[in-house]
Symmetry: C2
Subunit: 207 residues, 2 copies
Amino acid sequence: MTAALASLVSPRKLPRQRRAEATVAAILEAAAQLVAQRGLAAFNTNAVAERAGVSIGSLYQYFPGKDAIMAALIARQHARQVQSLLDALDTPPTAGLEGRVRALVRAAMHHHHDNALLASAIDHEEARLPVRDVLDQILEAAGPQLHVLMEELRAELPGLDPLAALRTLPPLLRAVVDAWANLVPPDLERAEKEGVRAVLGYLQAAR
Amino acid sequence: MTAALASLVSPRKLPRQRRAEATVAAILEAAAQLVAQRGLAAFNTNAVAERAGVSIGSLYQYFPGKDAIMAALIARQHARQVQSLLDALDTPPTAGLEGRVRALVRAAMHHHHDNALLASAIDHEEARLPVRDVLDQILEAAGPQLHVLMEELRAELPGLDPLAALRTLPPLLRAVVDAWANLVPPDLERAEKEGVRAVLGYLQAAR
DNA sequence: CATATAATCGAGTAATTACTCATATTACCA
DNA sequence: TGGTAATATGAGTAATTACTCGATTATATG
């Protein structure tokens, strides 16, 4: 069962030459762009291959099926999201907690415009595909880096569980930014204000 | 353009007899179940008609296309979500703010199990379909009821904008519950704890 | 009861889509 | 340089899907 699921999702063949790696990368990038720009419904293997500038046959050399492309895309985006969160928090300590949180929220808003559709698609597909182990690994890998960061903030944030925060904050922040930035017209000022309120409120919540 | 979009989404014909209303309701319920149980990919018009126990022809009597079904579903779920939020907050005042928030989080978790896939699908489709006006109407309609509620809490929550909270909190809460309840195995205790922390933190955030 | 209107039915169609496979091209190495 | 393994190609296919339309059945009304 697990093996059957894994075979849906694990690569069919590993790229052994440079151009093969480029092909795989192009496929993932094309998939990301399609979903981000035109939604899940536009995500089909023929369109991905065409946008990647690669034949449909090459696509199936490296991915056993459509779901495997989505699974790889999910892993890629999660790793990027966690990293950008850590980067944003890694501002000069002089900025203080609120300054850091504001940087975090701004980073989320910056990403939002290009990636809102992609992020929501990933949310949906995660529930269906056997990718949770991979995502947990990504989360745990960020543990040490996060811990150093949290040391600096420990005084201001007693009783905060850093790993729990790392699981809670990215979806939380994305949801809030989404709620305000997806309006027509988008209310970006409000999005920032509400994002800061939500994140700071969570971090500083009295126990 | 707006008219073209509206025609994708507004009903083709209004039901004038009881059985026609039942047909429309069955179609929406079937669509909701399909998405909730098997994801967006399983949402196709033939499957919806079959599960609704209705012919494909009848489906197209009332909906001009697949997107119109999704749009109607989005409106239905939003109205329900806002109402359940208001209901959950409408606990005896003796419960205090934290008690009310806990009731709110529990309600969200209860809904989560059946509706996580549906909710994330709606998130994604909202961005593509012209439904924002309808959703804003739903939000505004809840204004008065919410205001009464907020009167009672005003002392505890100075400087909170109730309408902003109504836009921010549902997605925020859903995201946090999602993040913890979608694990295998789900960590429901943690989901509740994190949900309460996030909502209470947002509400009580120092300005 | 008769007639009109509303509702339902479902086989059929044109278009789309996931995926295969036989063939051709490119890179590597003895 | 020749051989071979890796990579790329894309026309083709079986399956799925959104939607139409002509015919049938149910309901309301006078």
